[in-house]
């Protein structure tokens, strides 16, 4: 189809770029539109040809559908996944289709990666557009994007076995993308801990105490137990972002992984670290060249500004007072104390201080508006002290209660079923534990992955057909290996399931769903 031109020069079969359609519209200034490109050591001509193709397609498809330009191009040897992150700012991921089965993926899963990286970026640095406005040369946004996305891609850590959906991608030199093996996961959702009423009340009581510690300012909190969300007072989008970040970097497992990697995974891990580092180093030099050319720009003198890299690894550790600390945000101006991290909330567009307290498996994330805390770090430490004074007893109690009710990493395993349950309204998902999913055969997983692809299509079609009206959908497939692969959606909830050791008949399969639905979804999927 002639679209494979990019592929000829891509060795790794993976490209990732971000560009701004409003920039570089004049002959000779094309480079200006590139905000990020991976791999960075590709010649600019190749980068430009990838972007040029994407831009052309976007412009073309906009003629027919101004609101939603193209989403994906399926070429013979690769797929282009598009995501318009902000108006006129596009993210494109190009993935190679190879014979290896590992490169069977779901487009929607890939797009969710794009969405995730963008919303995390916005949470820490603000929107790309705002950075561009701040520094029209683009240098500021480039340096931030580069550091951020490389951290996002490169950081590979040993995943704990039940770390459900938030993994990093770079294995050695190869980017490991979500493949069919991850079809029982849903990126961009949170996983919740199921708690009884009593525990829930205790948690809420704790949350209220915490939020009252900053005085009258409106503050927010997120409570995690292990890697599961217990309570949030944030809006859904902000919850997802912070939850994602917490699971990646803050939760006990994320902190622990450092220790464990030294103990028995040293070899593999260091190898990957070295590999990642080399990628960074090599690409770094190229980017140096690229951005180096800008040194003459009026802002060149400020190049020494500190680029905050929130996704850097092993930068968080537990302080003496139970609060997690990091030096990512650099030292406070004029002092040796590390600056308190800040994040930007999507909903209120307000910058907040981020305080994280950890007690055993319990992680409390607190957000205070910067505007409400008068004298910076001093004010923060007062608030922290308040928290320790007022809430530590309650925290102990809550931790104890939740630990008692916690069923371990296989708590949500349901014997005989491999499932994924997504509540689109709440952005919550629950799945069989990863350890159990690995017992499925490849065939089943590929079938499910394909089935999900179908459902994704069907869903997006329904969205355009009849907004506000969700369709009920049910598909049961008998896979080649005689497994039942089932998808059912109803009113915003989705259930995907693989039954490998199931009986022959369809009746059995639908019985199994009925049982599951009644038992674990309070009947949401048992309409008939």
């Amino acid at each position: 189809m002639g679209l494979s031109s990019a592929n000829t020069v891509v060795n790794e079969g993976f490209q990732f770029c971000i560009f701004d359609l409003r920039r570089g519209q004049h002959e000779g200034q094309e480079l200006d539109k590139i905000l990020f490109f991976y791999p960075a050591d590709l010649p600019f001509s190749t980068q430009l040809s990838v972007i040029g193709l994407s831009e052309g397609l976007i412009t073309f498809t906009r003629i027919f559908s101004p609101e939603a330009a193209c989403e994906v191009i399926e070429a013979e040897r690769n797929s282009h996944v598009f995501h318009q992150a902000e108006p006129d700012i596009w993210m494109v991921m190009v993935v190679e289709k190879s014979k290896e089965s590992d490169s069977i993926w779901r487009i929607d899963a890939l797009r969710r990666v794009l969405k995730e990286v963008h919303s995390l970026f916005v949470m820490f640095h603000g929107s790309i557009r705002s950075l561009l406005d701040k520094d029209p040369s683009g240098e500021l946004v480039r340096s931030h994007l580069y550091a951020f996305i490389m951290d996002y891609l490169s950081a590979f850590q040993k995943r704990s076995t039940w770390d459900v959906c938030c993994c990093d991608f770079l294995v050695g030199k190869k980017i490991k993308l979500p493949s069919f093996r991850d079809c029982l996961k849903e990126r961009g959702t949170v996983q919740m801990l199921t708690v009884g009423r009593e525990a829930a009340l205790e948690v809420q009581s704790l949350v209220r105490v915490l939020e009252s510690c900053a005085g009258n300012a409106p503050c927010y909190s997120l409570v995690l137990f292990q890697d599961l969300l217990v309570s949030t007072t944030l809006s859904p989008d902000d919850t997802i972002n912070l939850f994602t970040y917490a699971v990646l970097r803050l939760a006990p497992n994320a902190l622990l992984s450092r220790a464990s990697s030294w103990s028995y995974l040293r070899k593999g891990n260091t190898a990957s670290q070295i590999a990642a580092a080399s990628v960074m180093a090599s690409s770094g030099s190229v980017s140096e060249q690229f951005y180096g050319s800008r040194d003459t720009s009026p802002h060149g003198g400020e190049r020494s500004h500190h680029v905050v890299r929130p996704l850097q690894h092993n930068k968080w550790y537990k302080g003496m007072d139970g609060f997690l600390v990091t030096d990512i945000w650099g030292p406070e101006v004029g002092s040796m104390v590390s600056a308190t991290p800040t994040v930007l909330l999507q909903q209120t567009e307000e910058r907040m201080y981020l305080c994280v307290y950890q007690h055993k498996s319990l992680t409390l994330i607190l957000l205070f508006p910067i505007s409400s805390i008068l004298n910076g770090e001093q004010g923060i430490s007062v608030v922290k002290q308040q928290i320790v004074e007022n809430a530590s007893l309650k925290m102990l109690k809550v931790e104890e209660k939740l630990s008692k009710g916690w069923g371990g990493e296989n708590a949500y395993h349901v014997g005989g079923y491999r499932y994924l349950l997504v509540d689109g309204d709440r952005n919550v998902s629950r799945a069989s534990p990863p350890g159990k999913v690995t017992t499925l055969t490849k065939e089943s997983l590929i079938s499910l992955s394909n089935l999900r692809e179908e459902i994704d299509l069907e869903k997006s079609r329904a969205k355009w057909d009849d907004p506000g009206h969700e369709k009920d959908l049910e598909i049961c497939i008998r896979a080649k290996n005689n497994a039942w692969v089932i998808a059912r959606t109803t009113r915003g909830k989705e259930l995907y399931m693989v039954l490998e050791k199931a009986n022959e008949t369809l009746l059995f399969a639908s019985d199994a769903i009925e049982k599951f639905s009644n038992r674990y979804c309070s009947g949401a999927f048992s309409l008939d």
Partner: protein
């Protein structure tokens, strides 16, 4: 109205200014003046004030304390009267004529007989009637106790038992059924008996502590220095140690008497009252009263010493009781010295538990607690609430005060931890009242409290083995006197322990007979003789209500009070009187209010109390109004807001702006198996096919077919319309003959033809 008043007052008082008195007596008193009276006597067994004249004895009921009670009279023969008491069944009247003789009248027949001491060496110190199964009347003599039973056949007393010992003086209260016999040089060795309907229990002998002023000067304990009190169903003895200036307290158990610590005193003359289980220590010389609530272990007074107040006296106009007390008191005293009372005057005799008798002026006052003032005097909200929750006598007022306090602390946005503790107090108290049943009794008992009084005489046991908390709420007696369970249950209204109920606590006046003592009686004598000519009109008035001004109000709340015997506040009342009203007044950020609701729910959950769905509905409204849908969802999913139809409907209502919330409401309806509503709402939302499937599965037949048909028609999909038509034709017998069927068949045909053309 109550609430408003109290809350406004509270807000003032929490700011620091205290009231000027916590205890008051209400004007007008009960006037017990009869021409030719020989004095006043208090019969605590029957709660009567008796006033004998030369040939008659007049008696006024003090329970319920009402000022317009007219006296009844019995004729008696002439002669000296040292002491006078009716039998507990009121059939006999006993008059102590001398140290050796007691005379009896049969009120029905008018027959009389006398009982005399056998020997001239012993003399009668006093006597009392008892409901002990073994005997009917007990004579206390210098040589011991004689227990007699009355034989109605031969119309005379029959000696049952004699307990030999030397007795200097004795103390008895009918309330506790306990008699303490003092002996020894210093009169500080005591033998105690409890003569209750459960039988006679002999207490171990014990000595009271007496400090010595000098080595050789041994003080002698007098009868007026020893007080038996009953609080929270426990029996204590308080002993005034004038040398050490301490008030020692002893608590009685079946097999032990345990000293419980001492309270400081600031006056040589001490009087003791118990009002609604609150101990009042009158420092008579200092003219102040100190209040103690000895429920908890703490011996700290409830508040600072303040004077006793005379309320409602005509000159002391309505406002004076709160402003410049002292002055008005003084002026009153001057104005009315002829015929009115001087606070802590020399003629005051304190009748246990809560009456004051002015023997010179023949007035009887009842002591009241000013709960508002007490609650206003402390800013320690949780402990004030605890105190108020324990009040039974003015339960309704205490309740209103509690509600007012909670409202105020929430409106003032006090620290969450403090409000939490306050709420915990109320919830725990309610939970306890449910367990002991007193709450429901309060709801049910609309009968006048007096009807029970005669047969609910509590055989309060000395025995009090368990000192656990619930005991204090009134079960102690039940637990304690295990030995007498059968008797008690015969004697009592079945489910409720006696000390728990209002009547008993307030009306079981223990007779302080002799501890008012010989002295008191003699005083009465003299006074009676000296003031025989004085004639005073009797006027009696209800004094149950404190500060409310108009008599109409007074009556209303009196009625209320007779119904409410517990200050416990149910979750429903919490909702209607606190949350609903507070929510209206609290504008802006709901975070604080939600916090309080959460704390309330947590507290209720700990006590396993069911909460009114309205609280949940309110919370849903609040969160939705401030668009905190994420939290709302979390609350619903975690069942912090328990599912109910009300909540579901509110979610649907609030979900008009937020489809996720609406779905939560729908899901809740389904989970509650409210099939009809669920199907109806599905159809309304346009999910008619799903609704049909659900209707068939759950056999919902109550939703009109036309609704489904209309929805299907609105979708302009002939296939769907046909499917719906077919469904009803197949599953509802006779549907084919309805107008709906034919109408929609025609519509369907038109749709088909329009498509094909």
């Amino acid at each position: 109205m109550f609430g408003k008043a109290s809350s406004s007052q509270l807000s003032v008082s929490l700011g620091g200014s205290g009231a000027l008195s916590h205890v008051y007596i209400q004007h007008p008193p009960l006037r017990c003046s009869i021409p030719g009276s020989k004095g006043l006597f208090y019969d605590d067994g029957n709660k009567l004030i008796l006033s004998p004249t030369s040939n008659q004895v007049f008696s006024w009921k003090t329970v319920p304390f009402a000022s317009h009670v007219a006296p009844t009279s019995d004729s008696i023969s002439e002669g000296p009267v040292l002491s006078i008491r009716y039998s507990l069944d009121s059939k006999l009247l006993a008059i102590q004529r001398s140290n050796h003789e007691i005379q009896f009248w049969n009120r029905e027949t008018g027959e009389t007989f006398s009982q005399r001491c056998k020997s001239e060496t012993e003399s009668i110190l006093g006597f009392f009637w008892t409901d002990c199964p073994k005997c009917d009347i007990v004579f206390v003599k210098t040589s011991g106790m004689d227990l007699f039973s009355y034989d109605s056949e031969i119309k005379s007393l029959h000696l049952v038992e004699t307990k030999k010992m030397n007795v200097s003086w004795y103390v008895y209260t009918h309330e506790s059924r306990l008699i303490l016999l003092a002996s020894g040089m210093q009169c500080k060795s005591f033998t105690g008996f409890q003569l209750s309907s459960a039988g006679i229990i002999r207490l171990p002998k014990f000595e009271m502590a007496m400090a010595k002023s000098e080595a050789n000067n041994k003080p002698v304990l007098a009868a007026e220095d020893v007080h038996i009190i009953t609080v929270y169903g426990r029996i204590y003895c308080l002993q005034v140690d004038k040398v050490a200036m301490l008030l020692h307290s002893y608590r009685f158990y079946r097999d032990a008497v345990v000293q419980q610590g001492s309270l400081p005193i600031y006056s040589n003359k001490i009087a003791i009252s118990v009002v609604d289980n609150v101990l009042l220590v009158h420092q008579v010389d200092a003219k102040v009263v100190i209040l103690y609530d000895i429920f908890a272990d703490s011996r700290a007074p409830i508040s600072a010493p303040l004077p006793l107040l005379l309320r409602g006296f005509p000159r002391a106009s309505s406002s004076s009781y709160r402003t410049g007390n002292k002055d008005t008191d003084g002026s009153e005293a001057n104005d009315i010295s002829d015929h009115e009372t001087i606070i802590y005057g020399d003629n005051w005799i304190f009748l246990v538990p809560d009456l004051i008798c002015d023997v010179a002026k023949r007035l009887l006052w009842k002591i009241h607690l000013d709960l508002e003032a007490i609650s206003a005097s402390s800013s320690e909200v949780p402990s004030v609430l605890e105190f108020l929750q324990r009040r039974k006598l003015e339960a309704n007022k205490a309740k209103q005060l509690c509600l007012g306090i909670v409202r105020t602390v929430i409106l003032e946005r006090r620290p969450v931890s403090m409000v939490t503790r306050a709420i915990d107090v109320l919830v725990t108290s309610y939970s306890n009242s449910i367990k002991t049943g007193s709450y429901f009794k309060g709801i049910k008992a609309e009968k006048p409290p007096t009807s029970d009084v005669s047969n609910v005489n509590p055989p309060t046991s000395v025995v009090d083995e368990s000192i656990r908390r619930e005991d204090a709420l009134g079960k102690s007696i039940k637990h304690g006197s295990a030995s007498g369970v059968e008797n008690e249950s015969l004697n009592r209204s079945p489910a409720f322990s006696v000390s728990d109920s209002e009547e008993n606590v307030s009306f079981e006046n223990s007779n302080h007979l002799r501890s008012l003592g010989a002295k008191a009686d003699r005083e009465n004598f003299k006074v009676a003789e000296s003031s025989q000519s004085e004639v005073q009109k009797l006027s009696l008035q209800s004094q149950l209500l404190g500060p409310s001004n108009s008599p109409l109000n007074a009556n209303n709340s009196e009625n209320l009070e007779s119904q409410v015997t517990s200050a416990a506040i149910s979750p429903d009342e919490m909702y209607s009187c606190v949350f609903a009203s507070v929510e209206e007044e609290m504008a802006g950020d709901p975070a604080y209010f939600v916090t309080i609701v959460i704390e309330f729910l947590r507290s209720a959950n700990v006590e396993r109390i069911k909460v009114h769905p309205n609280i949940y509905v309110l919370t849903v409204q609040l969160l939705a109004r401030h668009e905190r849908y994420a939290e709302l969802g979390l609350f619903i999913i975690n069942k912090i807001l328990e599912p109910s139809k009300e909540v579901a409907l509110q979610l649907l209502e609030s979900g008009r702006q937020n489809i996720q919330t609406r779905k939560l409401g729908l899901d809740m309806l389904r989970q509650l198996s409210l099939h009809h509503d669920y199907v109806l709402l599905l159809v309304q939302d346009g999910y008619y096919l799903e609704a049909l499937r659900y209707a068939r599965k759950n056999k919902v037949t109550t939703v009109r077919p036309s609704l489904f048909l209309e929805a299907a028609f609105a979708s302009t999909d002939p296939q769907h319309l046909a499917a719906v038509l077919r469904f009803f034709s197949d599953f509802i017998p006779g549907f084919k003959n309805t107008a709906d069927h034919s109408a929609y068949c025609r519509i369907l045909n038109e749709m088909d033809s329009s498509i094909t053309t």
